[in-house]
Symmetry: C2
Subunit: 374 residues, 2 copies
C-alpha cells in the first residue's frame, strides 16, 4: 500500500508501451504504477514516477522491485518461471501466477494443455522431425520457437526442411487456410469474476498486427459467442488472473486457437477510447481483485492502427503529428516515447465512429501518414 | 525538446490534479509533463517522471524549471505577474502570457476589462465603500478577494458592512438572481485557432462545484451559441493561449460573466470520457500550437461529480472503490492521490449515458458513496 494515498501499489515487470499505458490507467485509480525497466529510456520509464532499472532475468532485481508492491504483474512474458516461483515463495503476490503464465511462455506446453482441454488448435507436432509432419500436412509448414517469440518474431513459414531456423526448441504447425484472424480478450480476477470484450478482427501484414477492427465486422453472432466462451473457459481452466488475449484463426471449419497472451495486448488498444473500460484499467482491476469494469463499446465502430517508424529524414515526428491533427481533429494518437526506427512500432492511432469503413479509412490514413509523411 | 523522443517538453507550474491529469494526456502524445510541485506528495508529483520541487513564487525555482521546456504553462493562477514577465524576458515561452493571465488573477482588472469590452457582468464596484454600493443594489452583496481566490475560497456573501472579511483588496458585486450557472470552455492556439466545447451546467453547493452536466440540459440553442461566442471572443480579445473557462450566470435577462480561468478547469473534467478530445489534451495542443482536437460529445449525456473526502473512520477509500465498482461497472473514477480530509476534493467520477437523468443519478450515487460509504 502507498502510505501517502492509502491505495495499492501495482508493480509491472517490463517498461514498454504496455506498462506506459497501464500507468495512465493507474493514475485515474489514484495509483502510480511501479515499473521495472531495462533502461531509463524505456517508454514507461520516461513517464512513471516509480521506476526501478534492472533486468527481469535477475532475481535480486525482481525481489528488490517486488518489495512494497501489493501485486506484481507483467508487461511481457520473458520473466523465467523459476523467478516467478521464487517471488511467490517469498510471499509476493504475482499475477498471473507461474502456473498460468507458463502457457503464454511455452508454446509447446500451451499446445499440449489446449489439446488436453479439447480446445481446437492447428495440427501441430513438437518437432524436430519436420519432414514427417509435412508429409502429413504438406508444405509449407509454420515453425515456432517454443519460447521468446512475440509480435511476429519467433515464427517462420518454411517451405522445406533445409530452411529450418537454428533454434534450440521449436514446434511445427500446419499452415491453416484462414479467412481472417480474431482476438477474444477477457479479464479474470482472483475471485473468479470474468469479463469479456467484444471479439475483434486483427489484420496482419508480414506477421505483424497492423489494424484491429472492433467489433469484428460481419462476425456471425454464434461464432462471436463461441470465441468469448472459449476465452472465458481458458481463463478459468488455466487459472489466469489479469487479462487473457486469445488469438484465433477464423476458418471455414470453425475457430482455432493460435496464441495466448496474459497481459494487455495489442489487439486491445482500441479499448482506451472504444470501450467503457480500457484493457489497461481492466488488467489493474483484475490483479487487484477489484470488480471488473464494463466492457461495452462506446461507439458502433472502432479501428486501431499501429504506427510503425518510417525511413529517417524529411519531416520530424513532431511535424507529422501537427499535420495529422490538422487533417483529422478526431483521431486519437498514442505515441510510446520510442526513437523512430524503420518498421519499429512507435505508437498507435484509434478512430471511433459510426461506420467501420470510415473509421478504418481514417485510422489507416493516420498511421500511413505518420510512417510515410505522404 | 526531449532528445530521447524528438517531441516537445511542456512544463506545468503547480502539481495538483490538473497537472496530474494533464500528464496522462501528455503520455498519449508521446510526451512526459514536467511538473513544478510544492511538495513531492502533490498529486502530479506522485505520478510524473520529471518533477521539480519548488515554490511557484520563487523566481530562481521557476527559471531552473523553465530551462529545457518548449513551453511553460500553469495548473493554477498563483504565479506572480512579475515572475511570468521575467521568464518571458528570459526568452522562455510562457502560455498563457502574463498580459492574458492577469485577467484570471486579478478580479478587479478582469471586471474592468470586461466592462471595456461591453461584456455583460454583474453590477460591481471596486470597494471599499460597500454601504454605498449596497444602497443601490440592496443587501446581501457578494465580496470577492481581488487575488488568490479559487474554488469557493475568497468569496463571501455579506449581509452588512460589519461582516466584511479582513482583506487587503476586494471588489463588491450584486447577488445576481440566477437560474443556474453555466460554463463555456474554449481552447485557443498561438496561431489563433479556437475550439469550443459544448456549454455545460455547473451545479454548486456552498460555493463549490459539485456536479457538471454536459451538455447543459434544456439550454436554448441560441443562448448556447451566445455563450460559446462570448468565450471565443474573450479568448481572442484577451489573447488567451491554452484553455479559457468562462463561468456564467444564466439569468432571466441573459448571460453574465462570473469568473475566468485560463487552464484546465473543473467544469471540463467530463471531457476525459465525454468529449472526443479531453480538455487536458486540448490544453497541451493549444500551448504547443498543434491543431486543436474535436470537441464533440461521445454520448448524449455526461455527468461529472466531484468526490469530496468524508469523515475519517470506517471503510477505507480502497474498500469504497471496491464497492463502487461492484455497484456500477461503468462509472469512471479519477482519484487525485490526496490524503482524505473532510470536504477536500479528492477526485471525481463521470457517468456517460444516453439519459441525463440516469447519468446524473449514477454520478451522484458514486460520489456520495465514496464520501459517506452509505
Amino acid at each position: 500500500m502507498d502510505t501517502r494515498t492509502g491505495l495499492p501499489v501495482v508493480g509491472m515487470v517490463g517498461g514498454g508501451q504496455l506498462a506506459r499505458m497501464t500507468h495512465q490507467a493507474a493514475i485515474a485509480l489514484g495509483q502510480s504504477l511501479r515499473v521495472l525497466a531495462v533502461s531509463p529510456d524505456d517508454g514507461a520509464a520516461l513517464v512513471a514516477a516509480d521506476v526501478h532499472v534492472g533486468q527481469h532475468t535477475d532475481l535480486d532485481a525482481l525481489r528488490a522491485f517486488a518489495k512494497g508492491c501489493d501485486v506484481v504483474t507483467f508487461d511481457h512474458e520473458h520473466v523465467p518461471q523459476e523467478h516467478i516461483q521464487a517471488l511467490a515463495a517469498d510471499g509476493y503476490r504475482v499475477l498471473p501466477g507461474a502456473a498460468a503464465l507458463r502457457f503464454a511462455q511455452d508454446k509447446r506446453a500451451m499446445r499440449e494443455r489446449l489439446g488436453e482441454l479439447g480446445v481446437p488448435v492447428p495440427r501441430w507436432a513438437p518437432g524436430p522431425d519436420v519432414d514427417a509432419f509435412a508429409a502429413e500436412t504438406g508444405w509449407p509448414v509454420v515453425v515456432k520457437a517454443v519460447r521468446g517469440g512475440y509480435d511476429g518474431r519467433g515464427v517462420w513459414v518454411v517451405e522445406s526442411a533445409t530452411e529450418l531456423p537454428d533454434l534450440p526448441e521449436f514446434i511445427v504447425e500446419e499452415r491453416v487456410p484462414l479467412r481472417r484472424e480474431l482476438s477474444a480478450l477477457v479479464a479474470r480476477s482472483p475471485y473468479g469474476q470474468v469479463a469479456a470484450y467484444p471479439v475483434v478482427e486483427t489484420v496482419q501484414r508480414d506477421g505483424i498486427c497492423v489494424e484491429v477492427l472492433a467489433p469484428a465486422p460481419a462476425l456471425d453472432p454464434g461464432r462471436a459467442v463461441e470465441a468469448q466462451r472459449l476465452a472465458i473457459r481458458l481463463a478459468t481452466e488455466l487459472d489466469v488472473v489479469g487479462l487473457l488475449a486469445v488469438e484465433l484463426f477464423d476458418t471455414a471449419d470453425g475457430l482455432l486457437v493460435n496464441e495466448l497472451a496474459m497481459r494487455p495486448h495489442n489487439s486491445g488498444h482500441w479499448t482506451i477510447e472504444g470501450a467503457r473500460t480500457s484493457q489497461f484499467e481492466q488488467h489493474l482491476r483484475a490483479v487487484l481483485d477489484y470488480p471488473l469494469g464494463d466492457t461495452g463499446l462506446t461507439a458502433p465502430a472502432v479501428v486501431m492502427a499501429n504506427v510503425l517508424g518510417g525511413e529517417p529524414g524529411g519531416m520530424s515526428l513532431d511535424e507529422r503529428v501537427h499535420h495529422l491533427f490538422a487533417a483529422d481533429p478526431g483521431i486519437k494518437l498514442h505515441l510510446y516515447g520510442k526513437q523512430v526506427r524503420p518498421g519499429r512500432k512507435i505508437g498507435h492511432v484509434t478512430a471511433v465512429g459510426s461506420s467501420m469503413a470510415q473509421a478504418r479509412e481514417r485510422a489507416r490514413a493516420a498511421a500511413s501518414w505518420l510512417r510515410e509523411a505522404r
